[in-house]
């Protein structure tokens, strides 16, 4: 097993990930936004149903 260590030298390195950053960050951002929207919609509907609207 390879040792786990921080893989980037600078913030720019982390952001661009050797030109793969746009794909990696794009997927993580989109998945987080989608799951958050799903959660918020359900939460909002539950609150409305509970209050009898």
């Amino acid at each position: 097993m390879e040792k786990l260590k921080f893989q980037f030298q600078s913030f720019q390195d982390l952001l661009f990930m050797e030109d793969h950053g746009i794909y990696v960050w794009g997927v993580y951002l989109a998945a987080t936004i989608l799951m958050s929207i799903f959660y918020l919609v359900i939460d909002n509907k539950l609150k409305k149903t509970k209050s009898g609207e």
Partner: protein, 234 residues
């Protein structure tokens, strides 16, 4: 045994139990997802062939696994509803279908983005991608059919039948990379044999899978509570 079954029988007790366990499951799920993603994004080593783009694995693989597991879950509840008339069956099926639809969409979307730097294309009609796309269509169709009947019992019965017919697709998705020559690579992790990826990449992946499982379970609790309250209203 009666104590175990009681929450499934009494609506009030189900909601009480649901509300009690929900915050713990949700928080622990988010905690594990954060650990898995942070370790995978920042600390796991770079892949020798794919470079950093492989880090999408920590979203894509857990989503793909749960897109299929959720369908099995729905099939079991649909079967129990059709055979033993278990009343909570349709509620569980529809609650899971909402989550399955979202999860399958993220699996397809993340796979497409991953395909751009890896394969040079975001979409290919190969066996794995096509069968997963069919799964997504199944989820959308189930939700549409269930919502298009005024008679809820009839809607639940038809939804259960469609769910059971659609289950044929799940082993096809799983085996598609073995049965046909596809652009999609074969499974990197397996319960039966040794995984083909290094432990330093595997550990964050397993943590991400566990975390997402708990998070989706918590979401399922919330959706089922909402649907139960709506059923009670009508």
């Amino acid at each position: 045994m009666r104590n175990l079954l009681l929450p499934l029988v009494s609506v009030k007790e189900y909601i009480a139990l649901n509300q009690k366990i929900y915050p713990f499951v949700m928080l622990f799920g988010i905690f594990l997802i954060s650990i898995g993603w942070i370790t995978g994004l920042f600390f796991a080593p770079v892949d020798a062939i794919q470079g950093h783009s492989y880090r999408i694995i920590y979203i894509h693989v857990p989503m793909a696994i749960f897109s299929q597991l959720i369908y099995w879950f729905m099939a079991i509840w649909s079967f129990s509803f059709l055979v033993w008339k278990i009343k909570i069956g349709p509620l569980m099926t529809i609650s899971a279908a909402y989550i399955g639809c979202m999860v399958t969409f993220i699996a397809l979307f993340s796979g497409s983005i991953w395909g751009i730097p890896t394969w040079g294309t975001w979409w290919q009609w190969d066996a794995r991608i096509t069968s997963t796309f069919i799964l997504f269509i199944m989820y959308v169709a189930l939700l549409t059919v269930n919502g298009s009947f005024q008679n809820t019992y009839k809607a639940d019965q038809i939804t259960a039948w469609i769910t059971l017919i659609g289950v044929i697709n799940i082993p096809i998705i799983k085996k598609s990379v073995d049965w046909w020559s596809t652009l999609h690579q074969p499974a990197s992790i397996s319960l039966a044999s040794e995984s083909s990826i290094d432990l330093s990449m595997l550990i964050p992946l397993v943590i991400s899978i566990l975390g997402l499982g708990l998070f989706l379970f918590a979401l399922g609790l919330k959706v089922s509570r909402l649907l139960l309250l709506k059923y009670e209203e009508t």
